[in-house]
């Protein structure tokens, strides 16, 4: 910070303090100033119903939803890549090997040294997710090894995201935030990118992947 900027810092903080001269010192602290009378989640649902709601809301925002069990996952993913006609797929470093066991599409590892332009030539990407929000139809990525760098789910035009149900599914936004680490970069995705900028006509897919496929995988927890 230059000395000029340092003085701006002091100037701004000084202005703020003078502006707030009317605020009593003993005013309630944060914890008591904010009442949280709102709900932690909307409605009561069984675990299965919450997963069902996620599927509905994802589809409502035009994500393509698939469901399978753990054993069926590799063939589902292979099928999606085949249908898409993908020649290459970006792969995060920590993605479960088995998920791609059934496909021979060329794998492009997620590496720091590759350029975004190189990534622009990759057809698809497969990732896991950090958490999924049923009420809003949202999947959240947090850059964990099975999700990779943010750009790999941005530049390719086709994103396949695997959600383990029910353990990765929460009902609401408040519950999702609780599960996330703010220090990790997060990307909240609700359907493919969209714009309504031209006469309010909704057009899917401007810059992000124009096709978002979400695979809900019933894990071991479901049978418990």
């Amino acid at each position: 910070m230059s000395s000029r900027e340092r003085s701006s810092r002091e100037r701004i903080l000084g202005r703020v303090r003078r502006a707030l001269a009317d605020v009593p010192r003993e005013e309630a602290p944060y914890e008591r100033a904010v009442e949280r009378d709102y709900l932690r989640e909307h409605g009561t649902r069984t675990v299965a119903e919450t997963v069902e709601l996620l599927a509905e809301n994802l589809a409502d925002y035009r994500a393509v939803v698939h469901r399978c069990d753990e054993d069926g996952l590799p063939s589902v993913i292979a099928g999606l890549l085949r249908e898409r006609g993908a020649a290459s797929v970006a792969v995060p470093p920590g993605l479960e090997e088995a998920w791609l066991a059934d496909t021979d599409v060329t794998r492009v590892p997620d590496r720091a040294e590759d350029t975004a332009a190189a990534l622009d030539r990759v057809d698809s990407v497969v990732t896991a997710c950090a958490v999924a929000v049923a009420e809003t139809g949202t999947i959240v990525l947090d850059g964990s090894p099975d999700q990779g760098r943010r750009r790999i789910t941005l530049v390719p035009d086709h994103h396949i995201c695997v959600v383990r149900v029910p353990e990765q599914v929460v009902a609401s936004v408040p519950q999702a935030l609780e599960r996330l680490d703010p220090l990790r970069p997060s990307t909240w995705i609700s359907g493919p990118s969209a714009t309504s900028d031209i006469e309010l006509d909704r057009v899917e897919g401007v810059h992000g992947p124009r096709t978002l496929e979400v695979v809900l995988v019933d894990g071991a927890a479901a049978s418990r």
């Binding site: 810092r9 707030l20 760098r149 609780e178 703010p182 990118s193 714009t195 309010l200 057009v203 810059h207």
Partner: protein
């Protein structure tokens, strides 16, 4: 101030032109009514809307009332996470900081994601003057930039353009800026969006510097949040090596948890969605993922002056959802450009005169750009009592009185001969060429009262607060209307 559109006529004159522009009015009417209906549905889906709204209001109020502490916390947290924090007292300083940072990278172009703060300070023009080209990457902003135009709505800035015009702008201008529009481009929205995708992708892939604003900054962690739809935000936030975010000091919330309120209320109020397609959060820099260098520029530019006004400071709670624009009968008829600022509609009418002062004719007339119907207050997700602030600012314009300008206490002189008020009356003459509009407004106001019997929006509330208000506000406007309605029917049309 650079945020004022130079040569901008005062609200009444600007609005008169807009009211005559039938394309603009048709588009705006369609837009505001469509979004309004969708929003009502999205809000009705959550039964705890009133509680979320109240919590949002309280979080913002608390933060503003202890803003010095939270600013220091933001600075410490962002620095600890690998970011560099800068402080800009005004537009000029912010522009200089950003220009210097860009120059230091050796680059001569930047990609930008829509940010009202950078529009407010006129950053693109400042960069241009320094030989740096700033590419707007929101579809609407691209349309506005290529059309050498000004935005007219917070959420859908190009709503005054229809598809035929957009096709023409793309065909004519894209080649000037980079990849030309595809041969034989038609005017279907999907094709136009595809043209924008191709045109901008070239820029995203080679961009070394990104410039953004932020919807929220979390003090405890130093996390920034950008809420968007198209993915251009993600491009700007993750592909460049250097990211510069210019953020108004009022964007702070204390904790990560506070986002649980705003990530519910903002999308529903704004685009009427349960959730917008993309939200990005980042804290400083992350090894091997995204920009290696991150600068946060904290912008004052009139915000501390606004904070000094005990009635007016609530305007700083605004989360820029644009819900108040879509319900405003004056906005619907006058259009965004008439407000002479990047902040149009009801929020602009209370924010611009506070950020910039009321020296110019346009800013002095803005507090009159309203019928005080209260619909804006009713939809506001942080419960800003816009009518109350309008009445307060009218008093300020007409009577003069104490105010803070660039950090100094000043005493404003009354506007000569109530010039502003007269101007406003003229404004009303054609902004309300149909009495039904005003009646609808009044009906909305009475609905609000039924829901909130103790918090009358607008004048009633201000008076009940026991402050010494002149008899200027609200009433004369309607009195005037009734009087002139009888006299000269449909004066302007």
């Amino acid at each position: 101030m650079s945020g004022t559109f130079v040569g901008m006529p005062a609200f009444p004159e600007a609005a008169r032109e807009a009211v005559r522009d039938t394309t603009l009015r048709g588009n705006l009417r369609h837009a505001t009514h469509t979004i309004r209906a969708k929003r009502a549905k999205a809000v009705a889906e959550v039964e705890d809307w009133a509680e979320l709204r109240e919590a949002g209001k309280r979080i913002k109020d608390h933060t503003l009332r202890h803003l010095d502490r939270y600013l220091e916390q933001v600075e410490a947290a962002v620095t600890a996470a690998g970011g560099v924090v800068h402080w800009a007292a005004d537009a000029e300083e912010a522009n200089r900081i950003v220009t210097d940072l860009v120059k230091a990278t050796g680059e001569s172009e930047v990609v930008k994601v829509k940010s009202m703060a950078t529009q407010e300070i006129g950053l693109n023009e400042a960069l241009e003057a320094a030989g740096v080209r700033a590419y707007e990457t929101d579809l609407a902003e691209l349309i506005v930039q290529l059309g050498k135009d000004r935005p007219s709505h917070i959420l859908v800035p190009a709503i005054h353009r229809n598809r035929g015009e957009i096709r023409e702008i793309f065909t004519r201008e894209m080649s000037e800026w980079g990849r030309p529009a595809p041969e034989g481009l038609t005017d279907t929205p999907a094709e136009l969006a595809e043209a924008a995708r191709l045109h901008l992708r070239e820029k995203f892939l080679r961009a070394k510097v990104g410039v953004s604003g932020a919807n929220f900054v979390v003090a405890e962690t130093g996390t920034l949040v950008v809420v968007e739809s198209e993915g251009n935000g993600r491009m700007c936030l993750t592909l460049p090596e250097t990211l510069i975010s210019v953020v108004g000091i009022e964007k702070i919330v204390p904790t990560w948890r506070d986002l649980e309120v705003f990530l519910q209320t903002l999308p529903r109020s704004s685009t009427a969605e349960r959730m917008n397609p993309y939200t990005s959060t980042w804290t400083g820099t992350t090894d091997g993922d995204g920009p290696r260098v991150f600068h946060l520029v904290l912008l004052d530019n009139g915000r501390t002056d606004t904070l000094a006004d005990e009635v007016g400071r609530q305007a700083l709670r605004c989360i820029r959802c644009s819900a108040c624009l879509n319900v405003c009968p004056v906005y619907e008829r006058a259009g965004g450009h008439a407000y002479g600022s990047v902040y149009p509609g009801p929020i602009g009418a209370i924010l611009s005169p506070q950020l910039r002062g009321t020296d110019s004719e346009i800013d002095a007339s803005l507090p009159y750009a309203s019928s005080l119907c209260g619909a804006c207050y009713e939809v506001c997700p942080v419960a800003i009592d816009i009518p109350e602030v309008l009445v307060h600012l009218r008093e300020r314009v007409v009577q003069g009185g104490p105010a803070t300008r660039a950090g100094n206490r000043v005493v404003l002189r009354p506007a000569k001969g109530h010039a502003a008020e007269r101007a406003a009356m003229r404004a009303a003459q054609w902004a309300f060429t149909r009495p039904g509009v005003l009646r609808a407004g009044q009906r909305m106001a009475s609905r609000t009262r039924r829901f909130h019997p103790r918090t009358l929006p607008g004048p009633g509330r201000a008076w009940s607060a026991g402050r010494d208000l002149p008899r200027v506000p609200a009433e004369p406007f309607r009195d005037w209307w009734q009087r002139t309605r009888g006299g000269k029917d449909g004066a302007a049309e």
